[in-house]
Amino acid sequence: MSSKPERLIDEKGLRLDGRKPDELRPIKIEVGVLANADGSAYIEQGKNKILAAVYGPKELHPKHLALPDRMVLRCRYHMAPFSVQERKSPAPSRREIELSKVIREALEPAIFLEYYPRTATDVFIEVLQADGGTRCASITVASLALADAGIPMRDLVAACSVGKVDGTIVLDLMDVEDKVGEADLPLAYMPNLDAITLLQMDGNLTPEEFEKAVSLAIEGCKKIYNMQREALKARYVSVKEVEE
């Protein structure tokens, strides 16, 4: 019910939604949005709308799955049936299972897992609306939910995708750019440790294009990282205001 556009970048070098190649979509972040969860956060990035909740650290059942020297991090990335154009069955797809794994592995390097041996922490991510780049936005928002839950962390993880569209390296692909473009490269990054914690790619890039893409993605992550910090600050301020 949608048709592919002929060009993704116009003669002025602007993208379909008017952005420049190195421009992020508008981002709105809120921390501490769910009452029951130990920590939670909400992100809107373009039309993406994603909730993350954290439960933990807590006891692990069955007990033989617990690890003697560290916390087990579990992660479920899940899309609401109404989040995409064609209704998605609520049963986890192969894509959702893979993304749950790589998101978990993108968050793990940020956490002092050894502080809570024999426990588990659950990260639940629900994509309420998807418009490209949901795995990256999920990492960004899940990282804040972990912080909100008081899980001790080395740094926040910020994530952002880059891609090649009409031959140009562009930041923060939206859905149509992801589907029609020549390459997609999601990346997660901890600025304080200069650490890439998620890196995937599919498409076709020369080594030179790849280096340019990674640099642009890291720039994007740094911008998002600042927004994460602002959102956390806003949360603590508002909590303090309530307490006073």
Binding site: M1, L34, A35, N36, K47, S83, F124
Partner: protein, 266 residues
Amino acid sequence: MTSTTVVRLKQQQISQLISKGKRLDGRGLRDYREIRVEQGIIEKAEGSARVLLGKTEVMAGVKIEFGQPFPDTPNEGVLTVNAELVPLASPTFEPGPPDENAIELARVVDRGIRESNAIDLEKLCIEPGKKVLVLFVDIYVLNHDGNLIDASALAALAALINTKVFNYEVEGGEIKIKPGYTPLPINNHPVAVTLAKINDQLVVDPWLEEEQIMDARITITTDNQGNICAIQKGGGGYFTPKQVFEAIQIAREKAVEIRRKLGWSK
């Protein structure tokens, strides 16, 4: 099933207050928590709504697809209601296929919509016996603080009211999408009202801690005309006939109140 002393004491307090006509959160026995409804929040869905009932938060989305009618109703579109108790909403929810609670929730909401004829399913028929519109109503519980049924029924109806159907025409057996949308026609506004029996008293809109100590609950869905279109008793206790008749009366009054508050009645 928490059983620490503190929890027990709090439960006793809730129960004793109710026997005096009071509730721990300050409400009267027949007061709803604050209800907030937002519509159209998921642009990619044909219809959507988010309902806050106190701290209980439920989202509903409507998707429309082409499909086949059921053999026994060849002239009607298909309505499918599904509910997911996703684990971010409560420490007691587990990932996995819908359990008995999620299935009951979806089926109670479904019956309210269906039996009140809120949607004219015959208008969703394209070619009898062959091609119809299929409406998927997906209920998504985001925070569980009690009375999921009423919140879900409100979210589902608000999402349906918000639903726009893409225009199409049938040419030589082929369906062609045309530009523009038409609102889904809504004929009725069923409202589900749930009462819990605690300490032999009926309380409206139980929150989570009340649900944990209630003997039983009853959900009564009434339509614009004040008629009853669906009932569901739940929980391991019972009601006397007198309590049931009292509950019906309260549910009808509360439904009128909610419909008026949300602008669903003249």
